[in-house]
Amino acid sequence: MKPYKIIIFLFAIALLGSCSKNDGFTDSIFIDTEEFNPDSPTYSFDLWLHENYLKPYNLAFKYRMEDVGSDMFYNLVPASIEKSKQLAQLTKFLWFDVYAEMVDEEFLKKYGPRIIHLIGSPAYSPNTGTILLGTAEGGIKITLFNCNNLDHRNVNMMNEYFFKTMHHEFAHILHQNKMYPKEYEQISAGDYSPLGWQYLSVAEAARLGFVSQYSACEGQEDFVEKIANYLLTSDTDWNNTLDMAGEEGREKIFRKLEICSNWMKEKWGIDLDIMRAEINRRQLLINDDFFDPNI
C-alpha cells in the first residue's frame, strides 16, 4: 500500500431522491431466500446482522462477496468472516448507535443506506495509482474495501479506511435532503479543481482552507469532507492541519466549519461538537474485549 501516495474517495452519487423519499421501504424488500440454517458456520453472525441491521434499519449488511454486481475493472477478494464480524460490530457502535443516541433510531432507518457491502482487498486503480476506499451508489449502497486489513487497535487506520467513508457518504445524503447555504462554496470559490486536486499536497490543500486533498475537488465534497474529518480526526491531527493551514487557510477552515455546525444544528438538530466527543469517547472503548465472541 505504501507506494500509493494519494488515497481518495470516489463517490458515485446518483441523483438525489430515491433514498430520501423511500420511507415506504419495509423489510419485505429483502426477502431472505436463505432461511437461517442453524448448522451454517455463519448462523450466529447472520442472525446478529438480522437483529441489528435488517430489523431496526432495514439494511442488508453483506459480507459475502457479490462479484456479480461489482466492477470487473478491479481485482478484488472477499472479506474474511472474522474481519466482517468485527467491522459489523464497529459500524454499529461507532456510527449507527451514535445517531440513535444523538437523534433516534428512526433517523438512520430513514436516511441511512440500504446495503453495506464489504470487500476484503483494497481497490487499486492502476491508471492513477490511487486506492478506492469506498463507493456509494446514490446513498443506497455503500461498499467498503480493504476490510481484511482492518486493525481495531489502529484507530487512525479505521477512521481513514472505514468511518470517514461512512460519515462522508452520509453527509452527502443529508445535504441532498436539506441543502447547505450557498455562501459555503463562495469561501473557496476559485480553488476547487475537479482534476487537479490529487496533485495538491496535504499542506497545500490546508493552506487553501481544505482539510483534505479531496476537499479541493468541488464544493459538495469540501462540505462533506469537512464534516467527516472534523468528526473523526484526533485533536492532534486536527491541530496539525490548522498549523499547516497558516492564518489564511485557518480562517477559511473556521468559517466553513461554522457553516457546517450551524447547518447540522438547525436542519438536523445535531450538535457537531457533542457528536465528535461522543465518537471519540466510543473509540476509546475499542479494545480486544470489545467484540462479542458469540457472534
Binding site: 500500500m1 458456520p41 470487473m72 477478494v77 472477499p78 466482517s84 486503480s125
Partner: protein, 418 residues
Amino acid sequence: MNHRITAILFFTSALIVSSCTREQESLFEQPAAIRLNHAIENIDSTLVNAPNGWIMQYFATNESPGYSLLVNFSSTGEVLVAAKNNLVRNRYTEARSVYRVIGDYGPVLTFDTFNNLLHLFSTPENPAGQGLGGDYEFIINTYSDSLIQMNGKKRGTLIDLERIPEDKSWADIIAQLESMTAYVAGSDRLYLVSGNNTRIIEGSSSFVYEISMQGSDEPIIMPYIVTRDGIKLHKPIKTARNTEVQHFVLSPERDKLVASSDPQTYITGSDIVPFITNNQTPYEFDLENSSSHFTNPAFELIDEMHSRYSGRRDIDFLAITYRPDFGHSFTFSTKPTLTVANFRLYLLAHNNRNTISIDREINGYDQNGELFYTNVNSIEKFWKELPGVYELRSTLSKNSIIFIDIENETRYFKLNKR
C-alpha cells in the same frame, strides 16, 4: 438489464451442462431459470456427496504453475481447503470459509468469503492491484461424480476438480503428490520425445514447461500440475505425431513420463552418467537409504567427529561435490563451527550405459581435509569405501541418484540433491 444478458449467455452454457445431467431431455423443455436452478442443485449435491472432497487443480493464469488444493464441501455451506506448497512455506495448512453455487453466467461456484489458501491466488498484492491474477469464482462447464470442469470467471483459466477416493486420507494424497513432485520436478533439462521427434523442455522445477523445437527460439509456455500418477499439462498439446497429449503417467522405473493418450510420446531426462560427471551441485548422502557398507563407516565418522571436537564440529552433512579448482570430492561440512573438508574422488564414465566408476586419490585432500584426516581415523574408513563400479538409477527429476555396485547389488548408496 443484467438478467437478460445472463439468460442469453446461460442458454449456451446450459447446453454443455445439461449434456451430463441425468435428466437431459426434460431439462431442455424447462425455462432457462428452472434449468439453472436444477443445475445449481445438482452441482451442489455433487460437490457435497464426495465425503473425502476433491483435488482442485488450480492454475492462476495460463502461464502460472499448477497447484493442488484439497477441498471438502459441506452441506452446511462451509468449505475446508488444505494445501502444502511454497505459498504457505511448504507447511500443511488448512483454511475454512464458505461457498455457494449461484446462477450467473450459468452455474457458478463461488468462494465468497476470504479463504487463506484459495484467495492467495487472487489477493491483489505483490504487485499491487495484480497479485497472482487468479480467480475465485468458477463457471462450471461439465460435472460428474468424479470430475468437475470449470473456468475462472474473470480469466477463463481451466480448473478441474477431481474426486478424492474415499479410501485415501488427505495426508495420503499430499504424501503422494509430494513424492511424485520429487520424482518429476528437477532443474535438469528434459526432452519431449514423440516418435522420431525430440523437443527440449526447460522449467520443470518451476512447474511451467518451456517446450521448444531444437533450434527454434519461440518456446511454448505450458504450465503443468503434479498428479498422483504423473503430471497433467494445463492444456492438451499437439505432438509431432499429430496426437493430442495432456496427461502423462510416471513409468515404473520413475525415469519417464508417458503420455496416456499416446505411449510413443513421453518426457525423459538427459543421460545420467554425463549428468553426474558434469554436475556441480552438491549431492548429499542419504544414510537412511544406503546399505550398511556405507552407513556403518559414516555413523562411525559422525560419532568420532562429535567426541573428538566435543560437539563444536559435528558433521552437518556428507556429500559428493565438485569444485572447479579441486574436481570431485567426498566432502563434509561441520556445525556449529562451519568448516568444509574435501577428499578427492574421480568420477569416470564406464563402458556400460548408466555405469560409472569411482576412484580416489590417496592423500588427495585439501588443507582442512588434511587436518581432520590426521586427527579422525574413520575418515579413511568412509573414504576408502567409496571407490567401485556402480550402476546409476535416478528419477526423471534427478533429485536423487542411487549408486549400486555392479558386482554386489546389496552394496549401494543414495545421494539427494542439496
